[in-house]
């Protein structure tokens, strides 16, 4: 999903760089207090962990292999602001050490894999987990969060490519979504494997994740949901504004703006939307069904991964708590 240099137009690259620096700045601000209290080494060494984990190849069929991206996993292990800092550091490092993704496209790459990936992944994880999750629920949530984060990143990447005029949305969107729906399954499986083994070795690491920054209190879930939703809408609105180019350009001309107006501010003109409705509706329904069945698969995976001993211990603890 790393966008190389040369594919993004200047205004798209600069716009997304601004968006991601705002998000990253906010995350750094949130982490500062914790940083001063003495947790600075954890972020750096965890970033090195993500960097190393991305190099571990998981064999898929016929000689191909896949690897972890890790935004949802980092969200589950470190909390949202920590994960954002860590993922951004990893993406910046990959750009300047391995030439993965361009310098000019760095802002867009940080937005797709860092901001969108972490926010969507973390929000999905927290929403599904609830306040006091069982191990099975935790593993299932992280699997589903990994899939969602991959898909959301691919969506926003497709939007950026089509906004830059590098490819048409009707081509790039199905191509990216199709490929990343499969890549996301790999991401889901790997993330859940890692969380399942951390649960076995040191479960308290998952209990503490994100405390002190954005807490695990359930009343905060509304905030996370709002945050995730707004990012998702921002990512989704851009392509839609592009699908109706006539309406978009007409509005911008009427307002006396050049085509350089921010796509995020493009009003959804009625022009061209009615003809889209039936096709979009069918796609949305198919997408919902696919996502729901995937969620079921995540749950089955978690049941397979969490050892029966841990599950039994959990239910005994619940019984003891309710009786005592």
């Amino acid at each position: 999903m790393h966008i190389p240099d040369g594919f993004l137009s200047a205004r798209v690259a600069i716009g997304y760089a601004a968006l991601s620096s705002v998000g990253l700045g906010a995350a750094c601000f949130r982490m500062r207090a914790q940083h001063e209290r003495g947790a600075s080494a954890l972020l750096g060494v965890s970033a090195a962990f993500v960097f190393a984990a991305q190099m571990v190849n998981f064999p898929v069929a016929a000689g191909t292999s896949g690897h972890l991206v890790g935004s949802a996993l980092a969200g589950a292990l470190l909390g949202l602001p920590g994960a954002l800092v860590v993922m951004s550091a990893v993406i910046i490092m990959q750009c300047f050490v391995l030439a993965d993704g361009g310098v000019f496209a760095l802002g867009a790459n940080v937005f797709n894999m860092g901001l969108v990936g972490c926010v969507v992944g973390f929000c999905c994880y927290r929403l599904l987990c609830g306040a006091a999750p069982s191990p099975t629920r935790r593993v299932a949530s992280v699997a589903f969060a990994g899939w969602c984060a991959t898909i959301a990143g691919a969506l926003s990447c497709a939007g950026q490519l089509s906004l830059s005029g590098a490819a048409r949305l009707s081509v790039v969107l199905p191509a990216m979504l199709g490929v990343h729906a499969l890549i996301g399954v790999g991401e889901a499986v790997i993330s859940s494997l890692v969380v399942a083994s951390v649960l076995r070795f040191r479960p308290e690491l998952l209990e503490n994740a994100g405390h002190g920054a954005l807490g695990a209190r359930s009343r905060n879930t509304a905030v996370f949901a709002g945050l995730g939703l707004s990012i998702a809408i921002a990512g989704l609105l851009a392509p839609i504004a592009d699908v109706a180019p006539d309406g978009f350009s007409r509005v911008t001309q009427a307002l006396g703006l050049h085509a350089s107006a921010s796509p995020l501010l493009a009003p959804l003109s009625q022009y061209g939307i009615p003809s889209l409705v039936s096709g979009v509706l069918a796609t949305v329904i198919a997408g919902c069904l696919g996502t729901l069945s995937l969620f079921g698969l995540c749950w089955l995976l978690a049941l397979a991964l969490v050892p029966r001993k841990l599950r039994a211990a959990e239910s005994r603890a619940v019984v003891a708590e309710s009786s005592g």
Binding site: P4, D5, G6, G38, G44, A52, P59, F104, V198, R202
Partner: protein, 191 residues
Amino acid sequence: MSAVHRASAGLKLGVAAALIFGLAALPAERAWWGLCALPPLLALALLARIPIEALLSRWALGAPFLLAAASLGYFQPHGLRVGLALLAKSAVCLLTLQLLIATTPVTELTRTLCRLHLPLVLCETIALLARYSDLLSDEARRMRRARTGRTLRGSRFQEWLALGNSLGLLFVRTVSRAERVQSAMRSRGGA
């Protein structure tokens, strides 16, 4: 050490970024002008005495991504022309970046990045990442070698299970390493 290696990292980073930004800002119809940057870049590579095969093989590692992105551009009006132009432009950008990486040590680059007034938290994270990424990659490799040495044959499922387990273990070790690093920093007067 050639003159290119010895030049300050800030200068090299600035020149590379300016060149890449300039190339990226070229409109698609004039993307071919980007090829003008090729002779000076190759001259710099010669000056730095980088073996041309090494540069090409590193460049080829990034090329599939360029091809994939450019092929998506094919399906639009004037698709072939746009796709080829984008490909040429981004190939030159990739070569620039490879040249920068090949002639500048990572620590110099991270120090320069941190001098750009990035937030302190991000700077320290990047610096520690540069310090520990090799160490942890090495540890992952060692764990993998140990595992393949011990297990003769297994199904794909078992392999994934073992790899995921080793990543989980790597994270647990990461956390305890971070605690050690933290106490070492504190004992030397750091945060």
